[in-house]
């Protein structure tokens, strides 16, 4: 079985959230070692050389982001660390599990990361719907404070840290890092223009690093087990011996390869849905057929969304032959995104899936910029017209046109203020329409579902 247990090792233990239990399993030893034996820059270098990339969706090199933070913050211009726990990407539910059942893993990771980044105040932005996780995080921070792992002079060092757990209130856009900062400042969650980047002008205008829950949870394990161990998992292969070649190899990790594990949230028509932690580069075929037991009810596979709803779906022939890693999925015309894997069987009505996707982005567009506010609504209305039997053949090209004006002529060529616009356009134009245009045409020609599905849910919001 390709499943590994590192970040998810203890999530099935109902007592794991308690400090004593976490301590009995060696938690906070990495934090003690980091704070008492390592210099902040040593940790930053370790994270950079590991090649760990952002697990929240964008896949940016974590070490590179950390490298942009000022080395000597002042009381007037402090550094901030924000943990992004606003997990809302449709199909993704791994952060929720980590904070609900193993919050101390994250708290320890934040202590280490804050020390490395010279941060005195770290904030966790917890999704509003995660009331249970919010309560668990607050309890865990309180326990850590009682033990002296959070607060003044941690482990007898000069390092002090406060952790604030902030609860959102239902807005997908707040998972976007600049919108998240506006929300934390007590405003509407509107994205900001970049540059300036958060490492320069972030929360309250101060240098800020924002990392996803899962990204941060890798840090204690990296301290405990080291680089060679981390590199041994993933698509990079073994490092070369020769020093210059080795240095180049390390440099390429954070952008061209994928190291470590990834928690994949599998849902849809599989026999055993759930979260599974696998080594980067595990094949999607193995994930679906071995780990998740295959497709429900002996149906055949039709398509898979491999990285949350923002990423284009891929049809069976491509899905059967792709590895779950940043660069391999990119080569297949989609992306690893947040690791939300939604599996569709051969009875799935793809235009209806696209309708659900389009409705989501229409509902969650923050309204700040015109291409997104108007574009998402237009895409939704066009798809709705088709699946309710009112479609015209020229609607297909019209959808394409709106998608291009919103998400660009190819991926990463966006026209909107923040990536939400891309996320609305990509799955339709580079997923649904690219591989299943015939299903849209069937709807337009015969005014009914190509697979005999029940009428779509329309106007229920």
């Amino acid at each position: 079985m390709p499943e590994v247990k590192i970040l998810r090792k203890w999530v099935h233990d109902p007592e794991q959230h308690r400090m004593e239990v976490a301590l009995s399993r060696g938690y906070y030893q990495a934090a003690r070692q980091a704070l008492t034996e390592m210099k902040p820059d040593e940790i930053i270098n370790l994270v950079r050389d590991s090649g760990v990339r952002g697990r929240g969706g964008a896949g940016a090199s974590c070490g590179m982001k950390w490298g942009f933070m000022p080395k000597e913050p002042t009381p007037q211009r402090p550094n901030y660390l924000i943990c992004n726990c606003d997990e809302s990407e449709p199909g993704t539910f791994s952060n929720r599990e980590l904070v609900e059942y193993d919050p101390h893993q994250l708290i320890e990771a934040i202590v280490i990361s804050a020390y490395a980044l010279r941060v005195r105040t770290a904030l966790i932005y917890c999704r509003g719907e995660f009331l249970f996780g919010y309560e668990r995080l607050n309890e865990a921070v309180q326990e850590a404070r009682e033990r002296g792992f959070v607060g003044e002079k941690i482990f007898g060092t000069d390092f002090s840290l406060d952790i604030i757990v902030h609860r959102g209130a239902g807005a997908y856009i707040c998972g976007e890092e600049t919108a998240l900062m506006d929300s934390l400042e007590g405003k509407r969650g509107h994205p900001r223009a970049k540059p300036p980047f958060p490492a320069n002008v972030g929360l309250y205008g101060m240098p800020t690093t924002i990392n996803n829950v899962e990204t941060l949870c890798n840090i204690p394990h990296l301290i405990n087990h080291g680089l060679e161990w981390f590199w041994s998992m993933g698509t990079a292969g073994a490092p070369p011996e020769e020093p210059q070649a080795r240095a180049n190899w390390i440099k390429s990790l954070g952008t061209r390869k994928s190291t470590g594990t990834k928690i994949l949230s599998v849902s849809g028509h599989v026999k055993r849905p759930g979260n599974y932690e696998v080594v980067m580069g595990t094949s999607l075929r193995e994930l679906i057929y071995d780990v998740c037991g295959g497709i429900c009810g002996d149906h055949d596979l039709k398509a898979v969304i491999p990285g949350g709803s923002s990423m284009p779906m891929i049809p069976k022939p491509i899905a059967m032959d792709v590895q779950m890693a940043f660069e391999t999925l990119q080569a297949a015309g989609t992306a690893l995104g947040s690791g939300g894997v939604i599996v569709f069987d051969d009875q799935t009505d793809i235009p209806q899936v696209c309708l659900a996707i389009a409705r989501f982005y229409k509902n969650e567009s923050c309204g700040k910029c015109v291409p997104c506010r108007i574009g998402t609504d237009w895409i939704y209305k066009l798809i709705q017209r088709i699946v309710t039997g009112q479609g015209r053949m020229e609607d297909i090209e019209l959808i394409r046109d709106v998608c291009i004006n919103l998400g660009g002529e190819r991926m990463m060529d966006s026209r909107s203020y923040c990536p939400l616009g891309d996320a609305a356009a990509w799955p339709i134009i580079w997923g649904g329409l690219k591989y299943f245009q015939h299903e849209f045409e069937h709807y337009i020609r015969y005014r009914r579902s190509p697979v005999g599905a029940e009428p779509a849910l329309v106007g229920a919001h």
């Binding site: 539910f93 929720r96 604030i164 902030h166 807005a171 599998v266 849902s267 849910l457």
Partner: protein, 180 residues
């Protein structure tokens, strides 16, 4: 409109953050909790006063976030996910069932003030779809029968003080099948 206790809690939240304005969202949560699960205009005006903001500023923030309710809601808010994974696993059957059973459309509240039905976007419980939240607690792997049991349990909880039906907030075994 808000109590002294709520004002004190908001003042404490203001001190918690590097900038007191960051306490606006916690303040709205405190106000909503105190006002029976929604935010009347007067409560937002109180929040504005204690936060030293204009009422319009507070309303503009409150209106941005879907979990701050701007109209009264029932004692139990049923938020059923209608996003991709739940939809392909039969969420619309669940929504139709609740509509029929309670006689209300999404956005409406039952005459007895017990239930409000809402359809919502992904709740991050796709592995247990179709799913819903009731007052921010998760119920997963829904079937019409399970929904009936949950609704009966909630009603008994409200009317006879019975313990509420257990939410699905527990570690799921790796090969979790049907939680019903």
């Amino acid at each position: 409109m808000l109590s002294e206790k709520a004002f004190a809690a908001i003042e404490a939240a203001k001190k918690r953050y590097p900038d007191p304005r960051s306490a606006l969202m916690p303040a709205l949560w405190i106000a909503q909790e105190e006002c029976g699960g929604w935010l009347p205009r007067e409560a937002m005006a109180d929040v504005a006063r204690v936060m030293s903001l204009e009422p319009a500023d507070v309303q503009s923030v409150a209106s941005f976030y879907s979990m701050y309710y701007k109209a009264p809601v029932g004692k139990f808010v049923l938020e059923i996910c209608h996003n991709i994974a739940c939809d392909v696993l039969g969420a619309r059957r669940i929504i139709d069932h609740v509509r029929e059973r309670l006689g209300i459309a999404p956005g409406e509240t039952t005459g007895d003030g017990l239930f409000t039905l809402k359809t919502v976007e992904c709740l991050a419980a796709c592995g247990g779809g179709p799913c819903m939240q009731v007052n921010s607690r998760y119920y997963e792997n829904l079937t019409p029968e399970r929904v009936d049991a949950i609704l009966d349990g909630l009603r008994a909880h409200a009317e006879a003080g019975a313990p509420p039906p257990l939410p699905d907030e527990r570690p799921q075994p790796a090969d979790d099948g049907d939680a019903a």
